[in-house]
Each structure stands twice: as structure tokens, then as C-alpha cells.
């Protein structure tokens, strides 16, 4: 579903992503761990074709994202670290708009269901987004991603700003989607969440994937130790 072949991005002398090879099958949740600047966000931007790779390819559904930028984007949903919405529109108007531009139309009741699914309190859907907290905006972003019914998810720190309860609910949603066969690439700092939600974990450092392991094979403490070992220069 999501594949990277020798994917490399250089900015001048600096290498942001270095020869990344990755394949995420339907139903898999791949968590990308790493320090700030390790290349996690750049990897996601490469998959979204927001930046051109220096070499190598990123494929979604077997299609090269640089050759079929529109078709590949139709197959993925993206949640950024900070979901941005239109302040003068209500929550549900935002959800409706992003969903429509993603190519779907639903009745209002379906949008309200989505708001409940992501844990937004009844009544907030008709409030202007300018009154929302960061966590609420993030939940709208999650609802937008679900409504897109995409085969793959690209998540860039999607739970930042969410309280532990909401974070937990998000993990449950992720589980349900992966059960439905969605391939997930998630950049995160949260080792605990990565171990709980992920099927595989990759540790990135200076643009390179230095370790990949299956979460079933490793305990939380071991993961943390391994992570810190890699971070230690």
C-alpha cells in the first residue's frame, strides 16, 4: 500500500531522508520514531508529493506519487501535527467542506456520528471553529480523515494536544481502521502509543531508518531502551 524505495531527500549538503526503504501492507500500522529533525515529517511530505525526492520513489497503491500526484492523494488521508480549519466556519461546515473536496458527500447525520466517534461533545458541531481548543481541532482532523475512507493514513503526530483519554480513543479508532485493512504510517514521539497501536516500529536518525521491529516481539521497556541507545551519539 505505502512503499518507499531508496527514498532520499537532500537540502544542499544536508540529508533529510537517506535511502529509505519501507513497505506498509494493508492493515499494518507503522510507527516512525525519532528525534525532531530525524526526517519523519519529510518522509510524510514526500509521500504527499509536497516536496520532490532527490532520488528514489514513494509509491501509494503501486503508483509513483510524483507521476500521479492527484490519484495517489485520493488514496490517502493525512492528519498534520496541527490540524488547521476555517475559523469563520462551524465544525461541521469544516468537516463537510474537507470531505466534499476529498470527493465524498454524506448526510448531516453521518457527520454528527463522526463527531461523536472522535469524541467531540454534542452541540459543538455547530459552533464556529474559532472557539475550539487545539484538541478539538485535532479531533475534527481525525473525523476528516475517517470520512475520506482512504486505504492509507499518513499521520504526523496526530495526537499532539490530545488529552490521555482522547489519545486512547484515537488508538481505538486506529485499531478499528487497521482491522478494516487501512495501511497507516504514523510519525510520533510517543513510545507508549507506538508500542500499543503499532504493528511495526521504525527508528529514524539523521534521515536513516536505523532499526525496524515488530511490536509483538518487544516489550515497552525494551523499546524505550533501544530507542535511547540509538539516540545516544
Amino acid at each position: 500500500m505505502l512503499e518507499a524505495h531508496d527514498l532520499t531527500k537532500r537540502y544542499g549538503a544536508q540529508t533529510a531522508v537517506n535511502g529509505l526503504n519501507l513497505s506498509i501492507a494493508p492493515g499494518e500500522v507503522f510507527c516512525l520514531l525519532g528525534a525532531n529533525g530525524a526526517g519523519k515529517t519529510t518522509t510524510i511530505n514526500l509521500f504527499l508529493n509536497f516536496i520532490d525526492p532527490t532520488s528514489g520513489t514513494a509509491r501509494i497503491n503501486g503508483l509513483d506519487v510524483t507521476k500521479a500526484p492527484l490519484e495517489t492523494k485520493k488514496c490517502v488521508a493525512y492528519i498534520p501535527e496541527q490540524v488547521m480549519l476555517y475559523r469563520n466556519l462551524t465544525g461541521i461546515e469544516n468537516l463537510e467542506y474537507f470531505t466534499a473536496l476529498g470527493g465524498h458527500e454524506y448526510p448531516r447525520s453521518a457527520y454528527i456520528d463522526l463527531f461523536r466517534q472522535v469524541g467531540l461533545a454534542p452541540g459543538v458541531e455547530d459552533q464556529r471553529v474559532s472557539t475550539y481548543s487545539k484538541g478539538m481541532r485535532q479531533k475534527v482532523g481525525i473525523a476528516i480523515a475517517i470520512a475520506k475512507k482512504a486505504g492509507a493514513l499518513l499521520l504526523d503526530e496526530p495526537t499532539s494536544g490530545l488529552d490521555p483519554k482522547a489519545s486512547n480513543e484515537f488508538a481505538a479508532l486506529l485499531k478499528r481502521m487497521s482491522d478494516q485493512g487501512v495501511a497507516v504510517l504514523m510519525a510520533t514521539h510517543d513510545l507508549f502509543r507506538a508500542k500499543e497501536s503499532g504493528t511495526r516500529v521504525g527508528i529514524m536518525k539523521h534521515g536513516s531508518l536505523v532499526a525496524t521491529l515488530s511490536t509483538a516481539d518487544i516489550g515497552h521497556a525494551d523499546l524505550e531502551r533501544l530507542y535511547l541507545e540509538h539516540m545516544h551519539d
Partner: protein, 468 residues
């Protein structure tokens, strides 16, 4: 997709307090300038009608007198105002609207409102055309500079593009949303304008000007579309909405304020006009060419004597005083045609420069079209001058022919009466057809169309990667 973007854009604009304030301001100024134009038009149209009737009555009710005295008595000719002059007064305030037609002289136009004004008033004048050409583009700039730039700043653009939305659809949808919002302000103003036009002109507008009005509306729409497309194109590519605003305000200022002054300077530098004094001096010198006059009279004398087989001019059955007067007119007419012709050709060439200036600033093309369709541009002014001058010459010919036909002997005076005055028909002037106007402004139309195609084409180009 495009309509969905347009709907959301419109909703956002309508919920934005700035739009409400700006649109009320623009609507108020449009209506105010229309009201001022309407008042001016109705006043002037009524005055013209009364004055035209008065000048005719005065002409007909002259006492018995020598036809040449009547020729000196003269008449006024008034340039009829098209109802569309409410929208665009054009050069009328500077060139005048009435001319005194008398013997021996092709007079300059009188009644230039601009003459009686102070310099401050001259800049403070707000016609509907200025509102449309200057203020509405500013309104469009202020409404649209952030359309895409602000979405990029806020990060919503990334999210939209991550959905697989084409940037072209986004730009088109936004353009449509803005167009609808703009229409909500301008359509009421236009409807009120057309209604007041129809009401003021006793149905004359509906009979004569709809074609011109339709072209005018279409041209202004194209002009606004050009401005909006440039705004969206800049907004899509500027690094920040602040930068977009700076760039667009610079464009607005250059287009509406700087360009017309620069092009006026260029035009008068390339095709300088003589000063009024120089012009008059040169023309007077030719008019007072006594040798030429003597040659003409001698030739006519010889011709007449040959024609009537007479050996003295006194034996010819034609009053030579009339012949001599007509010779004076003919000589004067040649001089006028030469001097005024040369002057007007300079104006014409300057006018072409103004029109070509449209390549640099679309407002110049729009201005030429607007004045042309409103019947207040230089071409139509010249057309009227020519018609009025032809009428003056007709009066002179009629009077002089009557003098010629009534030779008197021994110091007796010939007096003519109402029967002769009536032989001069009332001055009739029909404004040129729309097709003639369109031909005169063809450059401006072509330039405006080119701007439209290029601006929209540029707006729809895919966003450069760096602009995401």
C-alpha cells in the same frame, strides 16, 4: 468541486466583518456618484434643451436685417449628452459642451465645468466611472489578497492539497465565490443605475443606448475579472498575505494613479500640442493673408465677368458683396480645416498613445472603452465639432447666397426677414452608431481581452511546488 469551493469562499467572505464594512462603503460611493451624475445629467440635459430651443427662437425671431448681420448674430450648438454620460463624463468637463456658431470664425468650445473649478475640486470629483475604475479594484484587492496566501499561512492549503484537489479548481472556485460576493455589491448598484438611466431619459435610453450599455457592462465585468484574477494569482504565489497585499496595492496604485499620468506625459512628449497662444497666432496669420484674399477676389471677379459676358463687375447681376463674403468664408474654412485638422490629428495620435498605454495598465484600456461607450471621448467630441462646423458653414452659405441674389444699387440696403431665417434648418446632430465607437476603441478592446486571457491563464496555472 469548483462550486463547492465557491460556496465555502462566499460563506467565509459573508461572515467576515471586513466585507460588510467595505461593501457598504463601495455601495454607498457607487450610489452617491451615480446620484451626482444623474443630477448633473438631468440639469444639463434640461438646460441644453431649453437653450437649444431659445437659440432657435432667437434666430427665427430676429428683426429684418442684412443677412450678414444675421450671420454675425449667430446660434449656439449644444452637444447632446448620452444618458450613459451619467456613468462617465469623460472629457466633457475639459473640452466643453457648447459652441457659438458665427460668421468668419470657428470658435472654441465653451462651458467647460473644469474651467470654473479649483484645483482641489478637480481631483475630488467622483464620477461613477472613477468609482468603477479605481475604487472597485481597490475593494477587490482588499477582499482577495489573502485568499490563497492566508490559507497557506494558516496551513489549510496543505490540507486541501493533501486531499488531491487541483490548485486550478481551487483558484477557479475561489474566483467564482469572490465574483458572487462582488456581484452582491455591484449588481444592486448597476440595477439602480440602469433604472435611473431609464427614468431620466424619457425612454430615450431604452430606445438608443441598450447596446452601448450592454457593451459597457460587459467591459467593466472583464476589467473586474482581470483585477480579481491578478489578485488570486498573486495571492497564490506570494510567500505571505502581507507580501501579497503590498504587491497588489502597488499594482493598484500603478494601474489607477500612476499609469494615466505617465501615459499623458509620454503622449504630450511624443506628440506635443502647440500652446493656445501659438496656435491662435499661426492661424490668425493665415486668416489675415490679404494677398491671398485679393487673389481669390480677382479670380472670382474674372470668372463672373466671363460668365455674364460683362466688362465691368458692376454689370454682373450678382451682388459682389455676397461673393466677397463667401470668398472670405471659403478662405477661412481652408485655414480652419488646416489648423484645427492638424491640432485634432495631434489629439488623435495622443489618444492612440493613451489606448496603447492599456498594455501597461488595464485601467487605461477600460477608460477609453468607458468614455467611448458613454459618448464622451475625443472621437465623439471631434465628430460633433465637425457637424457643428458644417452647420455653421451652411448658415454662412445660405446668408451669403441670399446677399448675392439681391444686388442693390446706389447705397440702398438689402434687408431679409423671417422667410430667410427659416431657410436655415434647425441644427440636428445624431450621435454616431455603436459600431463606429467600437471601431474607434478597437485597440482598447483587444488589449482588455488580452489582459483577460493572460490574467486568467496565469491564475489557473498549477501552483509552483515552493508555494505549498
Amino acid at each position: 468541486m469548483i462550486s463547492r469551493v465557491a460556496r465555502k469562499e462566499l460563506l467565509e467572505i459573508l461572515r467576515d466583518g471586513r466585507f460588510r464594512v467595505l461593501s457598504i462603503a463601495v455601495l454607498a460611493v457607487s450610489l452617491l456618484s451615480l446620484a451626482v451624475g444623474w443630477k448633473q445629467y438631468t440639469d444639463v440635459a434640461k438646460q441644453h434643451q431649453q437653450a437649444q430651443a431659445a437659440t432657435r427662437a432667437q434666430w427665427l425671431n430676429q428683426t429684418k436685417k442684412n443677412p450678414h448681420s444675421a450671420a454675425h448674430y449667430g446660434v449656439y450648438a449644444f452637444k447632446p449628452k448620452s444618458p450613459l454620460a451619467i456613468v462617465d463624463t469623460g472629457i466633457d468637463p475639459y473640452m466643453g459642451v457648447a459652441v457659438w456658431l458665427e460668421a468668419h470664425k470657428q470658435n472654441e468650445f465653451k462651458y467647460r465645468p473644469a474651467q470654473d473649478r479649483t484645483a482641489v475640486q478637480r481631483f475630488g470629483e467622483m464620477t461613477a466611472a472613477e468609482t468603477l475604475q479605481v475604487l472597485v479594484p481597490l475593494f477587490i484587492v482588499l477582499m482577495t489578497f489573502g485568499t490563497l496566501a492566508a490559507e497557506r499561512e494558516r496551513g489549510t492549503l496543505r490540507q486541501l492539497l493533501s486531499l488531491g484537489v487541483k490548485s486550478r479548481d481551487l483558484a477557479l472556485g475561489k474566483a467564482a465565490g469572490i465574483a458572487i460576493a462582488l456581484g452582491m455589491v455591484l449588481v444592486p448598484a448597476a440595477v439602480l443605475g440602469v433604472m435611473s438611466l431609464a427614468l431620466t431619459s424619457d425612454g430615450g435610453f431604452l430606445a438608443s443606448s441598450p447596446t452601448r450599455a450592454a457593451w459597457l457592462v460587459a467591459s467593466y465585468l472583464a476589467y473586474f475579472a482581470i483585477v480579481a484574477a491578478i489578485c488570486l494569482g498573486v495571492s497564490a504565489r506570494a510567500r505571505s498575505s502581507r507580501l501579497a497585499l503590498v504587491v497588489l496595492l502597488t499594482f493598484w496604485f500603478a494601474n489607477t494613479v500612476v499609469a494615466s499620468r505617465v501615459v499623458a506625459d509620454v503622449a504630450s512628449w511624443l506628440h506635443p500640442t502647440p500652446s493656445a497662444v501659438e496656435f491662435q497666432k499661426a492661424m490668425d496669420a493665415d486668416l489675415n493673408d490679404q494677398q491671398e484674399m485679393q487673389r481669390r477676389l480677382d479670380r472670382r471677379k474674372a470668372e463672373l465677368m466671363r460668365q455674364y459676358n460683362a466688362n465691368s463687375i458692376d454689370a454682373v447681376p450678382v451682388a459682389f458683396s455676397g461673393v466677397s463674403l463667401q470668398e472670405g468664408e471659403d478662405h477661412g474654412n481652408e485655414v480652419f480645416d488646416e489648423h484645427y485638422g492638424r491640432l485634432f490629428d495631434i489629439y488623435d495620435r495622443q489618444n492612440t498613445i493613451y489606448q496603447l498605454g492599456g498594455f501597461a495598465a488595464p485601467m487605461l484600456a477600460m477608460r477609453a472603452i468607458s468614455m467611448g461607450l458613454s459618448g464622451t471621448d475625443f472621437h465623439q467630441h471631434r465628430d460633433f465639432i465637425t457637424a457643428a462646423e458644417a452647420y455653421r458653414r451652411q448658415i454662412q452659405r445660405t446668408m451669403n447666397a441670399d446677399i448675392m441674389a439681391h444686388p442693390v444699387r446706389g447705397g440702398a440696403a438689402y434687408l431679409a426677414g423671417r422667410e430667410l431665417w427659416e431657410r436655415v434648418p434647425e441644427f440636428q446632430y445624431d450621435a454616431p452608431a455603436t459600431g463606429w465607437v467600437l471601431r474607434n476603441t478597437r485597440w482598447s478592446f483587444a488589449i482588455l481581452a488580452a489582459w483577460l486571457v493572460v490574467a486568467i491563464g496565469w491564475m489557473m496555472r498549477p501552483l509552483p511546488r515552493a508555494a505549498i
